[in-house]
Symmetry: D2
């Protein structure tokens, strides 16, 4: 079956897997103390243009979000996020399970605007009863967002300015970061993100790895005893090499960017196909996720030939569905979709 | 200074205090095992018209909310509440601290409508990704609400129907319940609440007691080992008699209702004064809390003579403030307010 | 029935209750912002000889333990306690419920020795795998202990020295502190405790109050946003006056010490009676709790006339029971016990 | 460098890795919904002789322990474990972080005896104050234990009997299960474990996989909404295939048992070498971990040629170190060790 169901339908990029095979029998220390982890971190620091960054490799996105947020927040604080933010919607309450509130704010196509944030913070700090309230302690954004949209450089700068004015760390969830950086419609680079965010992560799971996210603390601000915190949350791999080798491969020779660019090229062609077929867009994004509205009758037939993702019901007889490309999408996949749509 | 700052400005109703004095030296078992707790519970069951209810006495409102919610929710569930609900705003994240999400829905003047709730639940159960989401596990409402408004009988019946359809317990926060029951504009009785809610509490702290809330489980649904859960949350008083004696007094001879009625009479006169003085209402309620908009200049002078509660800034030169009556409000308080407003 | 069941069988000392009555109708701000709280704190600072201490009033012992411990520990830390420590045994897992481990060490009659502590800490810091372990972050002791025993000044000094060497705050649970300070066999004063401990509390619930413990942070080390933390745990009383007025009364004219001394006098007479009757002691303490071993047959008759506390089974036909005196114990109580034992 | 440092020094068994490579580009559903997960589970059920077992694949050991324990315990319960149990020592307080106490009992060479357990449970249920205590809610054992020792069939049967008498689920941590099953000194089979335990896991990380543990619920007792619970703890892999393919390979053609047997053969030869060299054993185990006492001076030289694991200091000039074999240990490794010891 041809699949556009998600960007995690395949295993690892062949280059990544090749390195896992080549290094497989080397005896290495556990828990991320191996040289591949060290090398991967060094290459990520270089790619970020942030030589002092502290890089940590964690297995998955929800795990990363909950670990970063709960170790950076203080006792009396919650994390501010767009209503559509992954931490607020599709992580089964993982943040709350660590004892902290997700403070949701309205979004604009998945994005949290500086104005919305500033307005919220002004109101909070003018409230005389705030000692009985959850304090905003950190701002969480996704880039690309859950809807595939992207912050512009100007928007990020503004958000960062508001965060700094209130001394709030800005945390960017980059589960699909590669697909944002390689979009044709972005003016934001990896170095920009490293400069504007206090902490962010470079998604591996959805961008070429079997699993793994690389967290980058950019301001010498990694919480103390971070390994202990990771262990306590059950997130410390005994064979840290699994993450080290993969990220080392992804950041060798620009592979991460190259495979991301491929997904974007496939996405552009996908959009062209969808337009040509007259499909109505729910949201046309500049990255690898496209949301379209299809008749349920049409979907009934389609789903035997092509996998796609459910998004939400759209009235009684239609559904919003998501088509994703990824590093593993092929020209054949697109041709097939064109032929059956 | 005359105070309308809140409904917890005085100690206990004199009748309540008198009983504490009279019983003070009796040697009694601890932890709520004393006869006054038993008697109070019996009288509350009778007042609720619910002879099989399980009644538990807890020291304060936030403590009650967090204990009831976190013991009734299951692992994968959160509590649904109006955006303005106390658990969502002014409890410092107490629910999240127990590991559960507060799932906020839009309110209408503090109330959660059955339509809003039903729409949310329909959407949730039609979402194919819901296993990655927090499940709604309980519905929390306040009566009176944080804005002093009241559900009508019809509204409560509708909410209860939706809850039953989805097998969600309905939990009513009655921190100010007396003032709701004695409102001139209500058609809801204590027995109605006991019949329509799965659990609710009768507020003592704001209605005549030094402290204490009486939780009523109406469907033989008190979580097992509840005392253990209360103890674990630091909420078990060694001298449970402090709560038992007070609630026993409040539910003897209809005192709870009588002192609530007094507060309502004072509130009606307060509203008349405010209207007569041409004060603009932000929200005029049928209970003991009134929200008005006053010029900051006016407030500057007023605050030296009368205490009131800050609610929120209202544009650059005005503020919404709250005036509360309670069982302890006197005619002299009102006369003084009339003379200085 | 005559009761030696616990030291919380009666309400408040009459002087304390009198002040509650006298101040009952004064309108006061809530949440501990009233002048009685301020006055109580000032008097406690004076009694401790610690003019810069930060004092907080909390309703009960378990609540105090969990709030102090969980706000002072850092993410990677647990609290070290004697195996018999209240936090490790009879608080239903309250500390663990806040996410932190109680690290139990062997005790000597309820006491944690400096040697035991130092040995544990040495081993911990020589363990190369400690980043995978819970770090000791605080030391908890009770004085009097759960067995009624007392630390000597020399023992406290030694413990404090070890704590300082490892930069661990020393926390003293003084739920029964008055009975320790007034013991005939102690060389430890309140000022000593304030000097040697980083935080401790002066128990009110068991020493003359209806409820309430006064936490004393002695080193300008109260956790930030402490009120928020108390609120979040459901431990903030709306009518903070209830605690303020009581502690103000207890620390006026030395009442706290005077009523504690009475309990000790009663305990000394109790011990004499028990000895005279040939009762076997499980542990004879210098404070208000005495543990004796009685035949189950004997207890069967006794329990119809006198209340006592169950401690543990002692072989097939005997039980260890506890007799407590308190500020409310009378000569008549003792005479009656003498007549029926 | 030759390494006996742990049983997770190498990547995956070549057969396992081969299958990851072969299946890499197949488009598959995420989150464990793929056919390899299904096939792996089916093979595990067969290997356990437990056709109705519910099998779940989780990334690592601590993650598995905390997820299983915290979803199976009820509100008022803790988990009983040997003092040396991994959950009590080297998981950074992961269980407590979920809000539950680890109730430690004395061990005998890493094992919890039925007598110790029964004695503890008898005492607990004869304690009249138990509602203020943590209730034992589950029993955790490791097999092999953290010290490499093994329960006999008779011991397991006894433990299981005690657990059943008190209606406590018995949970067996099998992080190294293969090395236990293939020991020359065991009379316990995988089917025995499936029959005697309510839940256990088959370790992959230390026995041939890159990562992964297979949890087996044997009594139709998997907690409801388990996927949600796994997601909430950050433990749900998007590419569940990573675990499915590996366990499918491990349980094809008896690979899991075969590679475990190899590790045992290497361990037997290792023990012979150590004995021949006159090395003093701290604990000689029937599985793949051997603990010996070496002079620090000796270790100083050795550590430049051979990796081993630190266990604990042993007096001023000696250290207990651990030598592990695993599926990846070779005859050359042993020959080299023999030559340098």
């Amino acid at each position: 079956m041809i699949s556009f169901a998600s960007d995690y339908i395949a295993g690892a990029h062949p280059q990544v897997l090749k390195r896992l095979v080549e290094t497989n029998l080397e005896p290495l220390p556990g828990y991320g103390e191996d040289p591949y982890c060290a090398s991967a971190k060094e290459k990520i620091r270089a790619a970020c243009g942030c030589p002092d960054a502290q890089v940590e490799l964690i297995t998955g996105g929800t795990q990363t979000n909950l670990t970063v947020i709960s170790t950076m927040l203080r006792e009396h604080e919650g994390v501010v996020a767009a209503e559509t933010g992954h931490v607020n919607t599709h992580e089964a309450g993982a943040i709350e399970y660590t004892g902290h509130k997700v403070m949701e704010l309205p979004d604009e196509e998945g994005k949290l605007t500086a104005d919305t944030l500033a307005g919220f913070l002004r109101a909070f700090y003018s409230d005389e009863n705030r000692e009985h309230m959850v304090f905003p302690g950190m701002v969480y954004i996704s880039h690309p967002t859950e809807l595939g949209t992207l912050y512009t450089m100007a928007e990020l700068v503004e958000l960062s300015r508001v965060c700094q004015a209130y001394e709030l760390p800005l945390f960017l969830d980059g589960a699909r970061l590669g697909y944002g950086l390689m979009s044709r419609d972005t003016d934001v680079t990896l170095a920009d993100i490293a400069s504007l965010c206090d902490v962010f992560y470079i998604g591996g799971t959805k961008v070429g790895a079997l699993c793994g996210e690389a967290v980058v603390f950019t301001k010498n601000n990694r919480p103390p005893h971070f390994v202990n915190a990771v262990k306590k949350r059950g997130a410390l791999l005994a064979k840290g090499r699994l993450l080290g080798v993969q990220f080392d491969a992804l950041f060798t020779g620009g592979l991460y960017f190259e495979l991301s660019r491929h997904a974007i090229e496939m996405a552009e062609e996908l959009k062209a196909i969808l337009h040509k077929k007259g499909v109505e867009f729910y949201l046309e994004s500049p990255t690898n996720q496209q949301f379209v509205i299809l008749d349920d009758a049409k979907l009934e037939g389609l789903k035997r030939q092509v996998s796609y993702g459910f998004w939400e019901k759209w009235g009684p007889k239609q559904t919003v569905v998501r088509f994703c490309t990824s590093w593993s999408t092929t020209q054949e996949d697109l041709d097939f979709l064109r032929s059956v749509l």
